[in-house]
């Protein structure tokens, strides 16, 4: 049982330290990004380790060359913090002892106002404890008591005074971030606060016991306006818990006897002494120690849960590299033949008039242009084969053209289309059927330019079409770009010259 708990504790400590290291590494890299590939081995190790992205980031931080100096600095800063806490605890204990001494010191050296002494020993503690509890219930940003925050602040000031190297600064920044943020930081500061109070009260307790052992006191109470009943009730209230635990406390008679000035000789000082010691212990030291344990456990629990904030921009890149969303890209199969793009240009030259014979018009894989189909200016001069796509349409057109040797076959295609091998094949069979008398009209230039975006891309497309034409053995002299989406009068003139002799 004990064994497993220790192992669990060690693992948790390892996780907390790992996160601290990852944070320090992040701070270090924010100011000075690691050169590309410098963390290659660390990344590989992290990837291989599996686990969550956070685990891998921690693993990577451990694998970097900066891990050794950062861990050294973290340990050194922790040691300083620990030393500071010990020092503060000693100071707090001494302060408690001094307060106890003052509380038990009076002008005449023997009589001590009991309730006054109780108030000065436990008053401030009770008030601050209540404030802490109230702040605990009120949801606020305030973190765990002034003392604890002051301690952390002192530590920071102490550390910053010593001008550190960049590793030390990064470690400091990371530790401050972890200590001061979220509920974990709040509980940590809380446990520090309670620890210091516990030390203070324990110092007071020791001093009280020492003074009571070595000196003779007469405990009294006095009043100007209150009656004896108030003090009897107060004593009972104060003594309720100690007497329940078997400590002998003053009864009503003892209270009556202790009124100043009165018949003090009859009072038993041991009941007052034991009440003083018991009150210090039960209302002072023990509640604070309990609070230390509770807040420390909560802090530990919260630190265990306080994951790294992976949405920090400087985590984004390492996170992607330790658990990539694309783990591999590779060429599985392919021909090494480099694609050769045509660099042919469509020069705007006039296409020669058609040879004698019928002029056919055929649209391949196009929608009706805006000027209508057939294009204006062709109606009386051409035989319209319509618009088509697919094997059947192509064969139908070829059959018609084959029947009589044409003077010209005007094939209209759309520049928005990608000139693929299917287009080339269709053009080749049409050209053969037309005895080589094929003229290719490329339409839709404006729409194509809009789609392609840049002039360079548009020119690429024109060149690809020229290439497709050449592949179908159509001479560039027999290719032309005419936008049939333009107003009818404009296109009519351009098209007419292609179909009339």
């Amino acid at each position: 049982m004990w064994n497993t708990a220790t192992v669990g504790g060690k693992a948790r400590k390892g996780v907390a330290l790992g996160r601290l290291l990852a944070e320090a590494t992040r701070v270090l890299e924010t100011g000075d990004p690691v050169a590309a590939n410098a963390d290659g081995p660390a990344i590989t190790a992290a990837q291989r380790s599996g686990g969550s992205t956070e685990d891998r980031i921690v693993k990577r931080a451990h694998g970097l060359p900066s891990a050794t100096p950062l861990l050294r600095e973290i340990n050194s800063l922790r040691a300083i913090l620990r030393g500071l806490i010990v020092l503060l605890i000693v100071v707090a204990g001494l302060a408690g002892a001094a307060t106890a001494r003052t509380a038990l010191t009076t002008d005449d050296g023997t009589t001590v106002n009991f309730f006054w002494a109780i108030a000065s020993l436990l008053g401030l503690h009770a008030a601050s404890f209540l404030v802490w509890i109230v702040l605990l219930l009120v949801p606020s940003k305030s973190s765990g008591g002034t003392l604890g925050r002051t301690a952390i602040w002192l530590w920071r000031v102490a550390v910053e005074r010593v001008r550190g190297n960049r590793h030390r600064l990064a470690a400091l920044q990371a530790m401050l971030g972890r200590f001061s943020s979220g509920s974990a930081g709040r509980w940590l500061a809380g446990s520090l606060t309670h620890g210091l109070w516990a030390a203070y009260l324990f110092g007071a307790l020791l001093m009280v016991i020492a003074l009571l052992s070595a000196q003779s006191y007469v405990f009294i109470w006095e009043t100007t306006i209150l009656d004896i009943g108030t003090y009897t009730r107060l004593t009972q209230l104060l003594g309720a818990l100690p007497s329940a635990l078997g400590v002998s406390t003053p009864d009503a008679a003892a209270v009556a006897a202790a009124q100043w000035p009165g018949n003090l000789a009859t009072t038993d000082q041991t009941v007052w002494s034991s009440l003083l010691v018991a009150a210090l212990l039960l209302y002072g030291v023990l509640p604070r120690l309990a609070a230390v344990v509770v807040t420390a456990l909560l802090a530990r629990h919260r630190y265990g849960k306080a994951r790294l904030d992976l949405s920090e921009p400087s985590y984004a890149e390492p996170a992607l590299r330790v658990s990539p969303t694309v783990t591999a890209t590779e060429v599985v199969a392919g021909d090494d033949e480099p694609p050769s793009w045509s660099t042919a240009q469509l020069e705007q030259q006039t296409v020669a008039p058609p040879e004698p014979g019928p002029v056919y018009l055929f649209g391949w894989e196009i929608d009706a242009p805006r000027s209508g189909w057939p294009p204006p200016g062709t109606a009386h001069h051409t035989q319209d084969l319509g618009r088509g796509d697919g094997h059947a349409d192509l064969q139908r057109a070829i059959d018609v053209i084959r029947a009589t040797k044409p003077g010209r076959l005007l094939v209209v295609t759309d520049l928005r289309q990608t000139p693929d091998r299917g287009v080339t094949a269709a053009l080749r069979s049409l050209r053969e059927a037309a005895h080589g008398r094929l003229v290719l009209l490329l339409t839709g230039e404006d729409a194509m330019r809009q789609r392609m975006g840049t002039d360079a891309a548009a020119r690429t497309r024109l060149a690809d079409w020229a290439g497709a034409g050449l592949a179908a053995e159509i001479d560039t002299n027999n290719m032309t770009v005419i936008d049939l989406d333009a107003p009818p009068e404009e296109t009519a003139a351009a098209v007419t010259s292609l179909v009339t002799r």
């Binding site: 694309v326 591999a328 890209t329 694609p339 796509d389 091998r421």
Partner: protein
């Protein structure tokens, strides 16, 4: 599942198959993209992983070109060999001597026959042609589940319904709109969700993938907001000192400050681009407009009173109240005078507390230039718009985002209190060569949240348009 599910991205040539791969993998450099036909001449694998574990294999394939010719060729093969379709397709894909000029298509078919699901990419700007119908017929013969992906739907939707109708005819009823240039998170989730319904064993890995996608997008928004917040805090707290009344020095310090701000903005933009996995060429920013910022030293200057209006007013009120008490004590004899003095003292105390260091600097003859609100305002607006644009950009997009200065609406007002505080915190700015404090981190967190909301809103606005 022992074997990682394989998905082949297929389609006619130049419809955006490699673009889809780039967008799904967020790898700008995956494969090669051009306006030419047949740019991709190989099968390329991208392995998608969740928590480092391979979850899905995506294969990019060469596009179909002469689909009608291919269909006719395989039909002939089938008749010659007397086999069924699937066997003929297998034979064609594996035996080089049967390729007959269709080696690209054979390569794609080989991958198709080895895949669990096919993503059939369609350029929705194109009409449905016979070549597409022939492709669909061929795909129907491969006995593989097909999910059609309509690309370029946000450009012009002229043929989208036509495509949907055609796809329904061949029993492809689950269709996904997915623009590879204009990215939408929901489209990607829909893509994976529908894909999961098409084959056994895809549900679990794809749910994980969707989960990872959502987390990553949320983290991306948060990280972007943090980067912008850091930029704003750095710039708001930046300052350059010059000796009072030295106008030349002041001008050169102002110029230096502007340079620093420009460099800092460039850094932030680079970081944003890198975070979203884009590069320099994806963003063409306009010049950052500068108004001339200057730290006003005169604490009683009306502009300072206005700029820090709230605090000054409060201080005045407190001081005046103190004066009023003194007046009452003095029996009301000096009513006006004491109240006025009290107000002066109250404001002075508040100012010394807040501007103590400036006062000391003034005594030493130093003044400072800072960046004004207008510049901060436009920095904020630019970066929010840029981030929203990056969130809506597919990794296949080729044209750069053009940076334009726009209004950031009331977002700036929400950040103003923290930014004003930043102006007084010299050590909040990395530009000041100061040691950073933890309060800086807290301030960044404070303003990152509204920025994150603004980014999401901006993103929604652009998606609706």
């Amino acid at each position: 599942m022992s074997r990682v599910p394989a998905v082949a991205v297929i389609g006619h040539t130049n419809v955006g198959k490699t673009s889809l791969m780039r967008t799904l993998t967020r790898e700008r450099s995956f494969g090669e993209i051009s306006a030419h036909p047949a740019t991709t001449r190989h099968v390329e694998l991208a392995e998608l992983a969740v928590a480092g574990r391979p979850i899905l294999h995506l294969f990019d394939t060469p596009g179909f070109e002469d689909s009608s010719g291919l269909l006719a060729h395989i039909e002939r093969l089938r008749a010659q060999r007397g086999e069924d379709w699937l066997e003929s397709l297998r034979a064609f894909a594996s035996e080089a001597k049967l390729h007959a000029g269709f080696s690209q298509e054979a390569m794609a078919l080989r991958q198709i026959l080895q895949s669990d699901v096919l993503l059939y990419v369609v350029d929705a700007r194109d009409a449905v042609r016979a070549k597409h119908r022939d492709e669909l017929e061929l795909l129907g013969r491969t006995a593989r589940p097909v999910l059609p992906v309509l690309n370029f739907i946000t450009h012009d939707t002229g043929h989208e319904s036509e495509w949907r109708e055609q796809l329904a005819r061949v029993n492809m009823h689950a269709v996904v709109p997915f623009d590879t240039v204009v990215y939408r998170e929901n489209d990607e989730i829909t893509l994976y969700t529908k894909m999961a319904t098409l084959a056994d064993g895809l549900n679990a890995p794809l749910s994980q993938l969707i989960e990872q996608l959502r987390t990553a997008r949320a983290a991306l928004r948060r990280s972007s907001a943090t980067l912008i917040a850091e930029l704003l805090i750095d710039v708001a707290a930046a300052r350059r000192a010059y000796p009072v009344k030295d106008e030349d020095q002041k001008a050169s310090e102002a110029a230096r400050l502007q340079d620093m701000v420009r460099t800092r903005e460039r850094q932030a933009v680079d970081a944003l681009l890198k975070l979203h996995r884009f590069a320099d060429q994806d963003y063409a920013p306009a010049e950052l407009p500068f108004a001339h910022g200057e730290w006003q030293q005169d604490l009683f200057d009306p502009e300072v009173l206005e700029q820090f209006g709230f605090n000054a007013t409060r201080a005045l009120a407190t001081g005046a109240a103190a004066g009023l008490v003194i007046d009452l004590v003095a029996g009301g004899l000096t009513l006006g005078a004491a109240a006025a003095t009290g107000a002066g003292i109250g404001f002075a105390i508040d100012s010394i507390r807040r501007y103590g260091k400036q006062v000391v600097a003034t005594i030493q003859g130093q003044a400072e230039v800072t960046v004004d609100d207008a510049t901060l305002h436009s920095l904020l607006a630019r970066e929010v718009v840029l981030t929203a644009a990056l969130l809506g950009r597919g990794h296949a997009a080729q044209r750069p985002i053009v940076g334009e200065v726009t209004e950031s609406g009331d977002l700036f007002q929400r950040l103003a209190p923290t930014l004003r505080k930043a102006r007084r915190q010299k050590d909040w700015s990395t530009l000041n060569d100061a040691r950073l404090t933890t309060s800086r981190a807290a301030a960044i967190r404070t303003i990152a949240t509204p920025i994150e909301t603004a980014i999401s809103d901006e993103r929604k606005n652009t998606e609706e348009v």
